[in-house]
């Protein structure tokens, strides 16, 4: 395990270096001049030159990259041209909202997907199986923005069952920030009303993000389960008289989950793409909104910061997936 971690950490360094290199140069060769935007619409040439000098934008790209990497190694992601705050502070402010949304979506989507996949596999060929597969296909085919707007119109606007937009009710004071997760922080602060509001605000965006997850996971788990339950060791377990439930959960599902775990790792990363859109529609103040504004304003440091942090999260998730393999299938050895 230690060797695996050491090898992965070396790999992480190269991945992150590659990410910074590509993002840095792509952001800068794209059209747009942040100095003009920072200086203001009527700023004169001297003021724009001052801004360029202030942010080091007048230096060669190689020198700028050198400075950026030097700062990055010291943990400094630079200052956002738009918010004028340290990028690390901005990410610290925006990321928890995205993390809370993504985590709940991942948990809800994968749990429901696994359950649906197992249910369909155990009833292969039945009407229930057909229905489950239809649900899976429908959830996969439904674009997130369309579903979000449907929920907005029906659940929020027509039925008035759940709130829409933001993390809390309008005017409700957020709890003191500890984790940045509104649900947890409100409980820590002993504010049950805030907790209920935060959960209610999470439902629709989580449902929107989780839907695609449900379909994908259900299809993979169903296929995988069908393979596994045809294996000799399952028949042996059944022949030994083990309870059906125990056979399914302990023997079949555990082995069928390997491909699902792989997909889960990839899905966690892909979720970031969906989050951008869903955060916009649901007015969710997360990292997607921040990144969108950064890209529009050629806010180099913010773009770099979001990309680097995203890459770190992606690599970390993959590492967790690799470790999960070891737990799920003791036969796996990383050479």
């Amino acid at each position: 395990m230690r060797r695996l971690l050491a090898r992965r950490l070396i790999f992480v360094v190269f991945v992150l270096w590659g990410v910074t290199l590509i993002t840095f140069f792509l952001a800068r060769v794209a059209p747009g001049d942040p100095a003009r935007l920072i200086a203001g619409a009527h700023a004169n040439a001297a003021a724009i030159a001052n801004v360029r000098a202030l942010y080091g934008l007048d230096q060669s790209l190689v020198v700028q990259y050198g400075h950026y990497m030097g700062d990055l190694l010291r943990g400094d992601l630079g200052t956002s041209f738009v918010t004028r705050r340290p990028v690390a502070a901005d990410i610290g402010a925006f990321l928890p909202a995205t993390a809370e949304l993504s985590l709940f979506a991942l948990l809800a989507g994968s749990s429901a997907g696994i359950a649906l996949g197992v249910f369909a596999a155990l009833r292969r060929g039945s009407r229930s199986d057909t229905a489950a597969r239809l649900i899976a296909v429908a959830s996969l085919s439904m674009p997130a923005f369309w579903l979000a707007m449907l929920l907005q119109l029906v659940v929020y606007s027509r039925l008035g069952w759940l709130p829409f937009g933001g993390r809390l009710d309008t005017g409700m004071a957020p709890p003191p920030q500890v984790t940045g997760f509104m649900t947890i922080d409100s409980l820590l602060a002993g504010q049950p009303e805030t907790f209920v509001a935060s959960v209610r605000h999470l439902v629709l965006p989580v449902f929107t993000l989780a839907m695609a997850e449900v379909g994908l996971m259900a299809r993979i788990v169903r296929t995988s389960m069908l393979e596994v339950i045809g294996e000799d060791y399952i028949r042996t377990a059944e022949a030994k008289g083990l309870a059906r439930r125990r056979v399914v959960v302990r023997h079949a599902l555990r082995n069928a989950l390997l491909p699902a775990v792989t997909v889960l790792g990839l899905e966690a990363a892909l979720l970031a793409g969906g989050v951008f859109l869903v955060e916009t529609i649901f007015a969710w103040p997360g990292i997607g909104r921040y990144a969108y504004d950064a890209i529009r304003a050629s806010d180099y440091n913010a773009i770099m910061g979001v990309t680097v942090v995203g890459a770190v999260i992606y690599v970390a998730i993959n590492l967790v997936v690799d470790i999960a393999y070891l737990y799920l299938d003791p036969r796996i050895r990383y050479s």
Binding site: D33, N44, Q152, G171, D293, R296
Partner: protein
């Protein structure tokens, strides 16, 4: 350019609009075409399950910059309009009349080259610092000296502020401009670059001469205004609360708290308005606006402001000759575009100067779509069939006009390549000098003046000194006409109103008919949505899409 960034997902918006959400009444909600709109006789009000003393505003985005020396975006002004005040301001819905604010009275000398303002006594900033003539001078010396963007507004008249701004006594400040400046009162009522910050900020939060508190003011604000900032959550919401020591007091009906929420998606803003969660919302698509307008629970603005939308024509390449640019004007299908695409949210522009701008000529030459005439002019200009032009716009603003022009150009045998850019990229294209082959032939853009003055409006858009080869300004079509330059320059100091009007009538004719600079498309209407129980709203054609929070209340 203080245009707010457009909401994304335009296609998605159309889907929602097509779905329909409200239950529009056949009777239109009544919003007077100007002045003070308000609810009609109908008692219908959207539900309100929250604190009635809190005003909630939904905008597409806000930015945090509370430094009057640099804050030049609408998305910033909509916050600090509640925090900062200037000496005087535009009166009600007028673009050319002013009224007292921090100054009670003011006067100019005979030739209007020196203006004196008498300040209201007993005013303090929200940090307790007294407001006086020295505070005024400190602010404007700083704003002009820092050159962070808004310096252009006062700096066009005051180049040596330390000398030209004179503290006569603690409650009297004089501006010695040195040249006749007949509309300096309008300059002082500009929304941008005139706000006054507590000088304590410059002393206690400065990191140097180039800063003077600038960095601190990017996240903080201390003014004399009615509200102070309680919390700022970038990308989410800003909360303003009453300044308990506000000098105009809190008698009468006022909101205790103002929450400004960032809701980029237009359909979400509309939903929140309809459900009662917000009181004021920026307009969405023309379809949204039509639906909200038809709902008696709301009133929708229909107020013409000075924001002009136009297509810049490059005076180079295929459109170098005036005849070619005249042809573009004859090709544009004005009525179809305004009615079908804009659905009445833009009013046809009368030339290159917006209505309500001083000296605007109502009898200006107006083009009518005429394809044969355009063909004839293109032949005269020597534009060969098959020539490809380029049209550039930024995401969310101008695509439809480009598609329409593409179709129109095809009718005269020309091609149009449409290029979409992000806002910042297009902003750079407009203000950066580039070889002719790298420039677009047309750009879709918009502008409004800082204050109501034809020279202020024209210089940055038409003067040869404002072309990208001279400065990073917005004469992006490299328009050069010696007579227009002459008129613009003279207009800054012309005190004879009739003469000024005659000069700009001539300029307008040159810019529209003889040697066109643009295709003037339309003049923007403020179509902000309001709950019908919101009182006190007065639209002003220059304080565009921002609100006087102190004047608003709930009925």
């Amino acid at each position: 350019m203080r245009r707010r960034w457009p909401a994304l997902l335009v296609s998605a918006l159309f889907i929602v609009s097509a779905c329909g959400t409200g239950e529009p009444s056949p009777a239109g909600s009544a919003t007077p075409g100007g002045g003070t709109p308000g609810p009609t006789a109908t008692p219908a009000v959207a539900p309100l399950d929250r604190d009635p003393d809190t005003l909630v505003v939904a905008v597409d985005a806000f930015n945090a910059d509370f430094d009057p020396a640099s804050a030049y975006l609408l998305s910033e002004a909509l916050i600090w309009r509640g925090i900062y005040e200037s000496l005087i301001r535009l009166k009600g819905d007028s673009a050319s009349e002013v009224e007292p604010l921090l100054a009670d009275t003011w006067e100019a000398n005979a030739d209007k080259s020196s203006w004196t303002f008498h300040l209201h006594p007993g005013v303090t900033f929200s940090d307790g610092e007294p407001f006086d003539a020295q505070a005024v001078k400190d602010n404007y010396v700083r704003t002009i000296g820092l050159e962070l963007g808004t310096n252009f507004i006062l700096g066009a008249f005051i180049t040596d502020p330390a000398t030209q701004i004179v503290v006569v006594d603690p409650l009297t400040v004089r501006f010695d401009i040195g040249a006749p400046t007949p509309h300096f009162d309008l300059v002082m009522a500009a929304q941008y670059g005139t706000g006054i910050v507590s000088p304590r900020v410059f002393r206690e939060h400065s990191t140097g001469d180039a800063d003077q508190g600038h960095e601190w003011l990017l996240g903080n604000a201390v003014g004399t205004g009615p509200y102070v900032m309680e919390t700022l959550a970038p990308g989410d919401q800003v909360v303003l609360v009453q300044n308990p020591n506000y000098w105009r007091g809190w008698d009468g009906a006022h909101f205790k708290k103002v929450i400004i929420r960032s809701i980029p998606e237009a359909s979400t803003r509309r939903q929140l308005l309809e459900s009662g969660e917000v009181d004021i919302a920026y307009a969405g698509t023309p379809e949204d606006t039509a639906a909200v307008r038809a709902d008696p629970r709301f009133f929708v603005g229909d107020f013409k402001n000075l924001d002009l939308t136009y297509i810049i024509l490059g005076a180079y390449g295929p459109l170098a000759k005036p005849e070619a640019r005249q042809a573009m004007n004859y090709l544009f299908p004005y009525d179809d575009f305004l009615n079908t695409v804009q659905k009445g949210t833009l009013e046809r522009a009368h030339g290159v100067f917006p209505d309500l701008l001083l000296t605007q000529d109502p009898d200006v030459f107006m083009y009518q779509t005429d394809i044969p005439k355009a063909q004839q002019l293109l032949d005269a200009a020597g534009v060969a069939p098959g020539t490809e032009l380029t049209y550039e716009y930024y995401t969310g603003f101008g695509k439809e006009a480009g598609l329409i022009m593409q179709d129109q150009l095809a009718k005269v045998g020309l091609k149009l390549k449409i290029v979409e850019k992000e806002f910042s990229a297009m902003n750079a294209d407009l203000t950066t000098d580039r070889p002719v082959e790298e420039r677009a032939s047309m750009y879709y853009w918009g502008w409004w003046p800082d204050y109501n003055d034809p020279s202020n409006f024209s210089w940055i858009l038409f003067h040869s000194g404002a072309a990208p080869d001279a400065c990073p300004c917005y004469n992006s079509g490299y328009y050069k006409n010696a007579r227009v330059d002459e008129i613009i320059d003279a207009g800054f100091t012309e005190t004879d109103a009739a003469k000024l009007a005659a000069m700009f009538k001539e300029a307008q004719d040159i810019l529209v008919r003889q040697d066109p600079a643009w295709i003037p498309v339309g003049q923007q209407l403020d179509e902000t949505y309001f709950r019908s129980d919101i009182a006190g709203q007065v639209f002003n054609p220059l304080y565009i899409l921002t609100w006087d929070y102190y004047a608003l209340s709930r009925e």
